[in-house]
């Protein structure tokens, strides 16, 4: 007996689904036969390349829509467009994020922070609400993408971490508020995934630096997508209002002790 339900009628909407973890998540849904709707803000997306990647999954092509997550009119237009094809949205994944890069308190900006909240945090609330208005019910699964940033220092990440912490707290409250509805709200935290976002925040030198010391700290974005998909299989329905860390166990050991431990092993091996 298969442990998976048939996903061929499943509709997944992934905001920020044309890049990085959002795209990896969409590809995982496609691989399992689900319908994907992926959105992006900037018109820099190479759609042919995207279509090639979806072809390679053996699944269906996604509906690709330009929609600014901050803009409610864009959201409504997006949902109208989805309605032309589907009568429901089963999963909403909030993978969009946008924030100012900062490296000192003097550079924190109230306006930029509030703007980042609108891009990074608020879609977790606004999209499900509007989906309910248009389709008559909330998505069965609402999943926010977060990172280790709220817990542990990440370079230049102050504003993003603030928005992700808010995303996690709001996700917990939504899970409680919607306890009577068939809705699970969870957040998936990822760590050190090789994406444009990582390069933008940590700088181009970070990856080679880690590769030379502890390459196991990098997480495959496909593994993150796979966990998001796993939360939507029905098997995890008793998991609600949780923060799930997808990091190969690395948050626990990343740090000076680990580097020391490995150096000690290397020198004892040499001896």
């Amino acid at each position: 007996m298969s442990i998976l339900n048939d996903m061929s009628a499943f509709v997944a909407l992934i905001a920020g689904g044309t890049k990085g973890i959002g795209l990896a998540t969409a590809l995982e849904f496609a691989r399992h036969g689900a319908h994907c709707v992926i959105t992006h803000k900037w018109d820099s997306t190479d759609k042919d390349e995207l279509r090639r990647q979806f072809d390679a999954t053996g699944g269906m092509q996604p509906l690709i829509v330009q929609a600014d997550v901050k803009n409610d009119e864009d959201t409504d237009a997006l949902l109208d467009q989805i309605k032309a094809y589907h009568n429901k949205v089963d999963a909403f994944v909030s993978a969009a994020a946008f924030a100012q890069i900062v490296d000192k308190v003097e550079n924190y900006s109230r306006r930029d922070f509030l703007n980042s909240i609108e891009y990074t945090t608020w879609p977790l609330v606004e999209y499900p609400r509007r989906i309910r208005k248009v389709f008559g019910k909330y998505p069965r699964y609402v999943i926010g993408i977060s990172s280790s940033g709220p817990n542990q220092y990440c370079s230049n990440y102050d504003m993003v971490a603030g928005c992700k912490a808010a995303l996690e707290a709001i996700g917990r409250y939504m899970a409680y508020r919607l306890i009577q509805e068939p809705v699970n709200v969870n957040v998936v935290r990822a760590r050190y995934v090789r994406t444009e976002s990582l390069r933008a925040t940590a700088g181009d030198g970070f990856e080679p630096y880690v590769d030379a010391r502890a390459p196991d700290l990098f997480i495959d974005k496909g593994d993150v997508g796979s966990a998001v998909f796993g939360l939507c299989t029905g098997l995890m329905d008793a998991v609600n209002g949780q923060i799930i860390m997808v990091d190969q166990g690395t948050e626990f050991y990343d740090g000076v002790s680990m580097l020391f431990d490995r150096n000690a092993h290397r020198s004892s091996a040499r001896r």
Partner: protein, 266 residues
């Protein structure tokens, strides 16, 4: 992973409660289940009948006291005859002395709890790795939200579960280069025989009065989560503690009770 045919799952404490539910779930998915139990605690006929009703593969039942070295060696020998590899190891064992107050904490209960509920879990992993030349691909230990949220008479169990969770993280680090993932599932108030033994009927009644039915987690729902964690979708989870409580613990506060006092008839 589409189904689990040809997979072997070892469930220590597999004839009752969450352990049994997990066996049934894996069995329904086609896995061969090896269930251990102790102290004449299982009626084999009842367990087999439950598997048959569920349409699950008939399990192998083995009487093994986890704290006895000879029993563990015996179990490994029997496993070796049954399978090439243990794909999944789930530990659902615990002795649970009722200890709540400072003056109740004593060395005897401490050693009994750790000797029975903590060390053997790790020793089983060591034994599997020695016997089969590799660790199980998936290892799950049952824990409880009681480790960082007050639960009556639970001090010693909580201490042992906290120790197990710490060891889970350290072992995950040590075996990071092997095809191995060890995670912990924390449950809240799953009403099983052990729950009743530990907390008594009065507490069960209080839980049912204060917590909406839809928040209570069934053993079968925990089993689904354990299956999911061993399904291939969560392979990048290592050394994590996953809380399976439907979100109930977050809202288990007096503020929530105050808000809902009239609905709950309190």
């Amino acid at each position: 992973m589409r189904d689990l045919r040809d997979k072997t799952v070892l469930i220590a404490g597999g004839t009752k409660g969450i352990g049994l539910a997990t066996g049934l779930r894996f069995g329904r998915a086609g896995a061969a289940c090896v269930l251990t139990y102790h102290w004449g605690s299982a009626d084999e006929t009842t367990v087999r009948a439950a598997f048959e009703r569920a349409g699950a593969v008939d399990p192998i039942l083995i009487n093994a006291d986890m704290s006895r070295q000879e029993d563990t060696e015996d179990l490994m020998r029997q496993l070796r005859e049954q399978c090439e590899v243990v794909d999944t190891f789930v530990s659902n064992v615990a002795v649970a002395p009722r200890v709540g107050r400072l003056e109740d904490i004593n060395s005897r209960d401490f050693h009994r709890t750790f000797d029975y509920s903590v060390i053997p879990v790790i020793e089983y992993l060591q034994a599997i790795r020695r016997t089969f030349g590799r660790p199980p691909k998936y290892m799950i230990a049952l824990s409880s939200t009681g480790i960082d949220h007050f639960t009556p008479n639970y001090a010693m169990v909580a201490a042992s579960k906290a120790a197990l969770e710490a060891l889970c993280r350290y072992v995950s680090y040590d075996l990071r280069d092997e095809d191995f993932r060890f995670n912990v599932v924390r449950t809240l108030g799953v009403i099983t025989d052990s729950f009743r033994d530990m907390f008594g009927a009065e507490f069960e009644e209080a839980v049912r009065r204060h917590i909406p039915e839809e928040w209570l987690v069934q053993a079968s729902e925990v089993a689904d989560v354990i299956l999911a964690l061993c399904s291939g979708y969560f392979d990048a989870l290592k050394g994590q503690a996953i809380t399976v409580d439907k979100g109930a613990l977050f809202a288990d506060t007096v503020m929530r009770l105050y808000e809902e006092q009239s609905d709950l008839g309190l």
